[in-house]
Structure formats: structure tokens, C-alpha cells
Symmetry: C2
DNA sequence: TTGTACGCGTTATCAG
DNA sequence: CTGATAACGCGTACAA
């Protein structure tokens, strides 16, 4: 017979009742003595004795049992599209750190940019009574946000906007980021610039596309005529395929990509086509994700504030958790152009 | 007044009692009808009616309430040292996928290779009644494993061994991996090979160091005389500092690194010293983490099976969850050498 | 200041 | 096959 280890031979963890019996007081008193918020309601001496017994018995509060009553769990869910994309880990880490300081644990999950999966995860998180949710995965049509609202779970968006949403949001000024890119390329002499756009429904993709077109116009270039190909996902493979399509079409000396991950695929496609990044075709990225300074040639890209984004989002969420729903602000961080060697004046040919 | 949204105006989610009332049966019957495992104990007709009502009322099981009784939560905790290290996300993703198929949610957390933090997280996970734990963070002296045993939580180790541990473990044959590296370097003509070792207490670090020495000896080289510097962490920065120390010491034409992350720092240090990777000093990594094929020069490294490791660990854990503690196996996967351009015959000088 | 009594949503164990 | 009842561990009005 397979007896559950936890129940049988193992010394099942001490409960508040055990502590009460041992300390010679009532369970409620123990609860009050051990809860920082209610400690004042109890005698100094009793509090000390209870604390001592609890310590000795190795008592740990059961988040579950507490949550059953309070409907809170001191935990926060963080949803990202794909942890394998190096943009997200730094954001998550920074948020996690800030939330931990405030006493919250964080649970991270991948959504694969799949709305169904995203909705399922939100439901599961809700079932675990997360106190708040941080979505780095929100698409412009995410059902997830409605679910959050239905359950009344405070939610903030990170690195993704949802137009018209009332949720706290932390993003970057992508239009300005693209303007920096185009100004740089224009300054190098490029006049025929292509855009490798991100997947549909993702706000960074559409914002950067808009920024691309606006910046071209601002420089007196024909935004309508500029080659644009949309990548199926923010992945290396999708970037390669999109770049192949762009190459077939031709008619450009530089390509401004919606994101660094795509650039890896762009490099792959250009290498396969026998073209040199920088010399033959200039390439720019977006995000300045880790390690792109070490790829060859080092990528000119737009730096976003990964850690700051995570911290701001955490603060926004924490504010909302205490104030009960005021944090409906949008924080827009400023990006910065980092010039490396993937951009150069256009080839003569 | 700040009324908690969840309680007041929001339609608090339907409970099993609501469904029971609506369906005209007892709550226990609802429980049985909706639980796949106990559905057989109930009439087909009743089951159907209950299911219909539950659907209509939007009933969702409360993991917490259920866990309070069953002491299970259908969730698994995954602990990694640092999600920013690209080795881990693919492992986590693969494990997550396999576990999700089996109906488990996964919670990921970073430990920062800090035993105290690791212990705290394990406790919190235990408080959330995770059914199992996957540790990619275990150091050779981790207290975390004892905590797991005390709580009776099934635990497996991934990408880390703990000597003498009885836990299921999935690792690679690091000794063989190092042997492949040294054979490759030796074949190129290198005779003075240095090792940039990983941090103390980490099994991959000590295994690879042992493998390094054993392989040197096997090739008739003096293992004792070989320069070895220990990096403070598996990070780019620590790699740079360790490499600087190694350069001061000198006396080598190639350096075998314990891991790819360190190689980024090695590249930084060599660049700062005006040395060319490959031509002046050959460099090898370990892990074949994403993107190292695109750094300059592309890194010769040992490929490990990231996804397979995650899947195996998940299977091991699942087996243990159903059988109740048999999975005390150690799975050793085989690594593979990937030769790129960071290695070349030693410079003449 | 402390104890009593009850509820949170579900499952296990009996009876019927 | 179904209903009643008692847990699970904790928080919290209310009473003492």
C-alpha cells in the first residue's frame, strides 16, 4: 500500500491548535499573538510564550487555511509569453525582488502568446487566490483581462499595453524609440528602410510599426512605400522567415526590426543569403536584450529599462493592493539608442 | 472606505453549495459528480444535471479549499538559481509542459544561489502545499533538501546532483563532456590548457573540474600544473574577473570554461586585453545555451539536452507522485561536443 | 485581554 | 447511489 508520506510517518507540521495546547491558551489567542497585525491585542507575556512555543514546534502559517478565510494568499502571479525570450527574465526578477520585499511570493508561468492558455492560467492563478496579477503577456484582445476583472483581481500590464484598458501599465515610449532608430539610419544616409514587424495583436509590435511610419514621414520619406513584413512571433525562427520574405521583395538598404529576438533570425537569413550585416544591410533591434552586445556584429538597438519596468510594475501593483484600486496609471519609460556595429552607411552599389 | 472589490460588488464565484441548491441535490453529491475520480459513484442523470448547473453558474473548484482537506494542490514548484541565465528557461519550459499535461500548474522562483533564500522559498512553497518540487538550484550543501524531506515533499533534482542524495536526479555526464573538450583541444595541438571553474558547492562546477583534471591526465598532461581559477558565480561578470586573474597568471593557450555564461566574461576580458578569441587563445564553453552560436566568434561548447532534461525530471517527479516515493533514480544524459570558431590550433609565438 | 463560536469550500466517512 | 456530518487550519465578530 502506498501510504502518503506526508500524513503517516512524517511529523505532520504543527497547527495553531498544537501551539495553543502547548502554550496553555486558546487557539484564537495564538492566532492573535502570531499575527503581527493583531499582536497588540495580547499581553506581552502571552505573546512571548506563544512565540516561543510556536518556534519550538516549528509552526508555520498555512497560507491555504488563512486564504480560505481572508481570500488572500500573499502571492502574485506573473504571466510572460515565453521565458526563453531573454527580455523577460530581467523584468520578472526585478518585479519578484520588489514584491518579495513586500512579503509576496511570485509564481511565474508561460502563456506562449496563446489566449486560451493564458485564460486557463489566469483561472488557475485565481483558484490559488493570487492577490494580484502581472501580465507581460497581454495581447490587444486578451480575454485574460476580463477574467481578472470578473474575479476582481488587481492586475497590471508590463511591457504591453491594452488600448482603452483601465489597468495600471508600464511600457516604454516605443514611438520615440523608433524615431531614434530612424533618425540614426537617416543620419547614416539610408533612405530606403524596411521594417520587420512583430506579431499581430501585440502592442509593442503595433506601436513600433506606427512609430516606424511616423518617423519615416517626419524625415520626408514615403511611409506607404516602405517594405514591411510581419513576423509570426517574436522568435528567432519567425525572424528568419520574415527576413527571407523581405529579401525576396528587396528595395531597402536597412531594416529596422521590432525586437532583438527577430534580429537573430535576420542575421541567420542574411548569412544564408551571403550578405554581411552592417556592410551590405544595416540592421537595428529593439530591447537591448542580454548578450546582443556580443553577437556578431554587435547589434545597434534601442535599450529599454528592463529592471526598472519590473520594479515600477511591482510598485503599481502593490499600491493597488493597499489602496484598493487606485493604481490605474500608465507609466511610460524612456528608451535610449545604443549604437553598435550592425549599422553603417548604405553600400554604394 | 476601501471595500475589497472581491467581496462586495463582485458576484463572488459560485461554490459547490450554490450548485447543490440549484441542482436540488446535496453538496457531497455535487462534489462526487464534478470530481472525475468519483464520478462513477453517481447516477449518469445526476452527474449530467450537476455538470450543467455548474457550467451555468460558472463554478470553478477552489484549489485551496480542496487542498485544505486533501493536502494536495495539483501544483509543482520549480526552483532555479537565476532565470536570467539562459540555460534554465528551456529546462523549465519543457518541464512545465510535461507537468501541465498531467494537470499540474508550476510555480517558478529564483534562489540566487542563496541557501537562506532557497530555504525560505521551499517553506513558502510547502505552505502553498505544492505536491512536488523540482530543484535546479540545489547546492551540495543545500538545507532545502532536508526541509523537503521533513515536509515529505517529493523532490527531484535537475542539472544538479547532490552526492549521496536519495532523490531522483537528472544530470549530464559532465566528466565525459569535459573529456570531449580536452580531446578536441589536445587534437588541435594545445598542451597548456587552463580551466575556469564554476562556483564552489555547485555540482556541475566540481564535476567539470574533476573531468578536466581526469581528461588532462588521460592525455598525459600534468593535471596538477594546469592553471585553474574559480569563478565566484555562473555570471558574465564573475567570468570576466576570473579570466583577468587567469591572464595575470598566464601559461596557457586554451581555456576550458565550466559554462557558457562565464565565456561571455572571458570574451570581455580577452577583448580588453587585446587578445583574439580563437587565434590567440582558444575558448570552450559548456551547455550550448541559446545564442552562443551567434556570438563572435561562435562558441565551441558542449551541448546538453535542455528540454530533455526538463521532461525527464518532470516524468521522474510524476512517477514519484503516483507511486509514492519510488523514483529514486539518477538519469544521466549524454552531452555532445559542438565545434565552432572559438577554438583553433595554438598560436606559434 | 481572552475565550467562544462560526465560517471559508471542499472532501472523507458514515449511515441510510 | 445519496444525504448528513465532521473535519481541514485559520481568522474574526462577539461575548465574557
Amino acid at each position: 500500500m502506498s501510504s502518503r508520506r506526508r500524513s503517516a510517518d512524517q511529523p505532520s507540521r504543527a497547527t495553531i491548535t498544537d501551539v495553543a495546547r502547548e502554550a496553555g491558551v486558546h487557539a484564537s489567542t495564538v492566532s492573535r499573538a502570531l499575527n503581527p497585525a493583531t499582536r497588540g491585542m495580547v499581553t506581552e507575556a502571552v505573546a512571548a510564550r506563544v512565540a516561543e512555543v510556536a518556534e519550538r514546534l516549528g509552526w508555520r502559517p498555512s497560507t491555504l487555511a488563512a486564504g480560505l478565510r481572508t481570500r488572500r494568499s500573499r502571492s502574485i502571479g506573473i504571466l510572460v509569453p515565453d521565458l526563453v525570450n531573454p527580455v523577460f527574465p530581467p523584468i520578472v526578477r526585478a518585479a519578484e525582488e520588489r514584491l518579495a520585499e513586500a512579503g509576496y511570493v511570485t509564481f511565474v508561468a508561460n502563456t506562449d502568446t496563446d489566449p486560451t492558455r493564458e485564460a486557463m492560467i489566469v483561472e488557475r492563478m485565481a483558484a490559488h487566490l493570487v492577490d494580484g496579477l502581472m501580465l507581460a503577456s497581454a495581447t490587444e484582445t486578451s480575454r485574460a483581462l476580463q477574467i481578472c476583472e470578473r474575479f476582481g483581481i488587481p492586475t497590471v500590464l508590463v511591457n504591453r499595453r491594452q488600448p482603452g484598458s483601465r489597468h495600471g501599465t508600464v511600457v516604454h515610449d516605443d514611438l520615440r524609440g523608433m524615431a531614434l532608430v530612424i533618425a540614426h539610419l537617416h543620419g547614416l544616409g539610408h533612405r530606403r528602410i524596411a521594417h520587420l514587424a512583430g506579431p499581430p495583436g501585440v502592442s509593442t509590435a503595433s506601436d513600433r510599426l506606427r512609430g516606424f511610419r511616423a518617423a519615416l514621414t517626419a524625415h520626408g520619406l514615403d511611409a506607404e512605400a516602405a517594405p514591411v513584413v510581419i513576423a509570426a512571433a517574436y522568435s528567432r525562427e519567425a525572424g528568419r522567415r520574415a527576413m527571407e520574405a523581405l529579401l525576396e521583395r528587396g528595395g531597402f538598404t536597412a531594416v529596422a526590426s521590432a525586437n532583438d529576438m527577430l534580429c537573430l533570425g535576420i542575421y541567420d537569413a542574411l548569412e544564408a543569403a551571403g550578405l554581411a550585416v552592417g556592410r551590405d544591410i544595416s540592421v537595428t533591434g529593439f530591447n537591448d536584450m542580454p548578450f546582443v552586445d556580443r553577437i556578431h556584429p554587435p547589434l545597434t538597438t534601442v535599450r529599454i529599462q528592463h529592471a526598472e519596468m519590473g520594479r515600477c510594475a511591482a510598485d503599481l501593483l502593490l499600491a493597488e493592493l493597499v489602496s484598493g484600486g487606485q493604481g490605474e496609471r500608465e507609466i511610460v519609460l524612456q528608451p535610449e539608442l545604443v549604437v553598435r556595429s550592425s549599422t553603417a552607411p548604405p553600400a554604394r552599389s
